[in-house]
Subunit: 203 residues, 4 copies
DNA sequence: TTTTAAACGAGACGGTACGTCGCGTCTTTAT
DNA sequence: ATAAAGACGCGACGTACCGTCTCGTTTAAAA
């Protein structure tokens, strides 16, 4: 249902589809995930409830589509990939700074948090999320690291997935659990710690 | 709630309190967070709904207390602190392995995931969670790292918070979003990547 | 509700309507007014609570409709009007005897008492009750008295409303407050006292 | 418990008793019967709930005591009995006028209506009500009629209970069901109709 | 073109759970 | 010893949404 579906089963109203996705992001941005009922989305979209149930299996599904729809043509970062100025550390610093900018912007924060809540509660939505949002982003990040390897800025032996995780998961975690402020200071520090390596005495 | 307040407003039933917390963990373990209604918790605890509403402000609050109550005397790891055999890498490997063991055990996983969902949706619960669960754990971890610094296994200049984050956030993130399997292989790799540092060619 | 309004707002389920009214009379007949919760009516009717709240404003409203519905085509007495054998005294005696029969029959007594309680507590329900139950009955009674006037059995000057009140209110009052047994003896006596007039010595 | 109780069982706080009865009348006068909870009465009286439950069996019982307490030393009319100027018709007219004055005065109306609702729903309270309120009043009325009989204004054969009923029940009924305005006109008319007798043509 | 089948808006329906109020009982604290 | 205070298990309140199910009414394809 969510997947591609180019040969549309029957005549589907694109106006309704758009209205629903827009209403969903807006509503979630205003009142949060759990207070955004399907009824409320339908009402705000000027749509019958059935039209939602016809095309999506859950509120989470709507939210996933809505989030993707809102960031069309370019997932958070640039669609063409991460910046590559030749300086890996500087580039990653910039990317992480851009990430915290987004996560600190309520217009992005609220829907993304809502989507994350939905994902946590629904295993199959999690798979969908992984495939359509997480994986593409991870590929972009790994691509940038691979370039750095080619440029000799990173050992070819390093596990790229591990590097991506150690760079981005701390930010995601701090954002999700609000365990601390999301600042450039924090991310810069993180980049340094991870990419510079942990110095041992006498090394 | 747990903290101080010895002159309780009036006599509170400890039987009811315990029954509620127990029922909450059990129920959440059986049917998940969103299907664990307060009504169901009350019924299973043999308690009136009002008794829950009287002492907790939300399902999330109950869950937090319930989780802490279930792990009394010893938060996930040892209460006395993280193991210290003198070998930092080996010890952290063990700790992370223990962590994935827990996260793979439904008896811990379900309630913790439920609690996390609640925390994501409720800012003030997040603060409570940080203070009572996250921070104490972080202190234990930093304590172990500080010992390593004293033993000369870790540079005294390193930012301990950043190290803790890079070690544990990736695991938490992978668990929460189910973006991959939680294996010893993954965590061992992580420890190595983080604690060994990222080697650069020619270094 | 019964009256007019043929272009119903949207499609209303007549099955639900009937089930609710039936359940209401039954329940009230079994456990009395105050113990007949809306919840219980809904359950017995196999209906959601909201379906009751959607169409009625209070338990009393339901009861009024239910009472009218239960006595369709013939309010307590004959639908065509009160009997007219040509003998006013005999006819009124019969009517009052029929009334006490009903009031002594739990199947009628319980719902009617419930309805009356509701009416006492709710001014606007009282108006509805007056209009739809009390007034029609009063008209029938006055019609019979008017016939008696035409037949020369009753002075044309007499206030028919006052006569109706003096004949029926004592019975209603005795029934409501249970201030005495409702017997033929009592009502016969009443008819005689009222219709024969109060003889004074030497008249 | 309800009955007179002059030999008080134990040391009972008269302050509490008075506070409760006062609070009950006031509350019922302000918000009506069904919204006057026992909790609210207790709170307003500055009394523990248990103190109410200890001495009364139901809200209705409290209300009955409260009503009697409020009208101490003189039930509605004069304690010494109904007025007797020697003119029965004039006196009954005056008594009925006084009655409608009371029933039109919210300070009396509200508590009395509340009490009546309670009586309708509770058979044993009805008995209590009859014995302590209704009967004494009826005796006074019959006493006045008996005096009229002695004075030759009323046939000695007439059934005094029936006369009392036909005079007062219509007013009570009209008040309870709000089936019409309670005016002097109405009661004067009633007195005339009942006491003058129903004239027939040619008598 | 006309037909016709679907998707659509609207919203009623049987339900579940919400968070609150009040019931009548029971226990604790402070006179 | 009695009263205030109020927690307790319980049941009902009236509301919000759930997901399903008709209803007419568009509306755009196939006939």
């Amino acid at each position: 249902m969510l997947c591609s579906m180019p040969p549309r089963s029957t005549r589907r109203s694109d106006a309704a589809r758009t209205a629903i996705l827009t209403a969903a992001v807006e509503l979630v941005g205003e009142v949060g995930y759990s207070k955004s009922s399907i009824e409320a989305i339908a009402t705000r979209a000027g749509v019958g409830k059935q039209t939602i149930y016809r095309w999506w299996s859950s509120k989470g599904s709507v939210l996933l589509d809505a989030y993707l729809n809102a960031n069309v043509g370019g997932e958070p970062e640039d669609p063409q990939g991460l910046p590559n100025t030749g300086d890996l550390v500087a580039d990653m610093r910039a990317v992480l700074r851009a990430t915290v900018d987004e996560l600190n912007d309520p217009r992005f924060e609220r829907p993304l948090r809502a989507l994350t809540v939905a994902v946590l509660e629904d295993e199959s939505l999690a798979a969908e999320y992984s495939r359509r949002l997480d994986e593409p982003m991870r590929q972009m990040k790994k691509e940038r690291l691979r370039a750095a390897q080619r440029q000799g800025q990173l050992s070819p032996d390093v596990d790229l997935d591990a590097v991506v995780d150690t760079l981005f998961a701390p930010v995601a975690q701090r954002w999700l659990l609000r365990s601390g402020p999301l600042t450039y200071e924090y991310t810069d520090h993180l980049v340094e710690t991870v990419l510079t390596g942990l110095p041992r005495p006498g090394s």
